[in-house]
Symmetry: C2
Subunit: 272 residues, 2 copies
């Protein structure tokens, strides 16, 4: 299902082709909920349609995974009404997505769900070379393939990953998850460097976030030019806020809004 | 002083001319701290220079007001180091500004300061017709002129006003002020409608903000076009989030990033 923006039916067709190409007769059955293709203003259907689609898949024990189809914007609108409607069937499956879908991953993590992961989505097929990202997502969903994982994940720490602005918008809400002791990986796309700086100021001054084991910085891509130039790179900005807040800066993370985006399980390997 | 971006010396000259034009021999002495004209990457001088300028004016009892020169970006970087350095001299004066300066107004309000207000700044002179905004700012600083106030302020409620994204970035930080019982006025500029929606989702789900007496929506200007169109106006979005969160929607507020921006004292008239 698509919690924010819609996808085209071509995306669904290509993803199924890729699954068949990879696994042949053993290919997983992939169901794209019809809601994925709806259009209601900015969204893939209105809030009620997106909520219903999420619950129909999440609560149905016959589905082994809920693969978020695309980011965009809209997941945060669903969280409050979704959470009370989840049944036990929702706990036993994988959830994979990133970007805007991070709002739902966060809320489910706060509810104690295992099986949540930040990683590729079907809509990544629209990127040049996007087949690699979709194959990686499938490899994780079907086989928990170790080479789909972000390289630092196997070291065994609890992990979580977010888009920087999505995490910023979770702070101070009832859906902010407890990331104590986690390696927190952060990535961004299409934001001005001053806006990245501003959100990292917020994130690193949050008392809950200060309890993370450290921060790894993913890729920050398509940063618009600004006049005057901000004068610092994203890594300088991340190092600055980590140093200032006393949060260990642990280096780069292999995640981002691109085809190389690796999988980061929420809670680390122990939780999947 | 300028807590974020720099101003040109012409701005300072024009503002002094306007003060002389209005008050003649009785014109207030306006000191533009030299820091206002510095340039360090994105900022009006580095963090240390901006912090020093703020403290030199705030802590000096011979100044009756600290008028933030301009918004832009950078105030949030100063808050943590400023607060412990403030002396009693800082409590007895007015502070006027908006936009990015809201980060500092919020932190000072949390510290129990009276005399804080959201309203015009010297840099507004660069807007077409900006003289009216600067004159309004002066009328408030010099005379607490009632006609400088936002129209709902004299009704007597406790009030506060913020730029929407600046308030979003304050949530979950140690500098989020207690706005219990306040009429909260919110304005925005140059943000996509989906981004306004997302930040209002965050704001109205924050447990502290839920205690406000109600929300008034200021102007949301220069909203970039988006594909697909969001399909709702800013007032529809504000009404939606107020209804959903149980916060009373009280109508429009006469504030915004424009020359008609009226003054909103933090805490209401009782606090100035």
């Amino acid at each position: 299902m698509a919690p924010g923006s819609r996808i085209d039916t071509k995306v669904a067709d290509r993803v199924k082709e890729i699954a068949t190409g990879l696994y042949g007769d053993q290919a997983p059955e992939i169901t794209f909920h019809p809601q994925c293709f709806l259009l209601s203003g900015h969204f893939a259907g209105d809030d009620a349609a997106r909520t219903k689609a999420f619950l129909e898949i999440a609560n149905d024990e016959s589905f082994q995974a809920l693969w978020f189809a695309r980011g965009g914007y809209g997941a945060c609108r669903l969280v409050e009404s979704l959470i009370p409607e989840l049944t036990d069937g929702a706990r036993g499956k994988l959830y994979l997505g990133y970007s805007d879908a991070g709002s739902l991953l966060a809320a489910l993590y706060k509810e104690g769900y295992a099986g949540l992961a930040h990683g590729p989505m079907p809509a990544d097929i629209t990127r040049e070379g996007g087949k690699a990202a979709v194959e990686r997502g499938l490899a994780y969903l079907v086989d928990r393939a170790p080479d789909a994982l972000e390289a630092s994940v196997p070291a065994g720490a609890r992990t979580a990953a977010f888009n920087i602005k999505i995490l910023g918008h979770l702070l101070g809400t009832p859906f902010q998850p407890d990331l104590t002791g986690h390696v927190l990986m952060l990535e961004e796309v299409s934001e001005y460097m001053y806006a990245i700086d501003r959100t990292l100021c917020q994130i690193t001054s949050n008392p809950g976030i200060k309890k993370v084991a450290g921060i790894r910085l993913g890729r920050c891509s398509a940063i618009p030019d600004n006049e005057p130039d901000f004068g610092q790179t994203e890594e300088e900005v991340a190092r600055y806020w980590c140093a200032r807040s006393g949060i260990p800066y642990l280096g780069r993370a292999d995640i981002g809004h691109d085809i190389d985006n690796k999988v980061v399980p929420f809670g680390g390997l122990g939780s999947v």
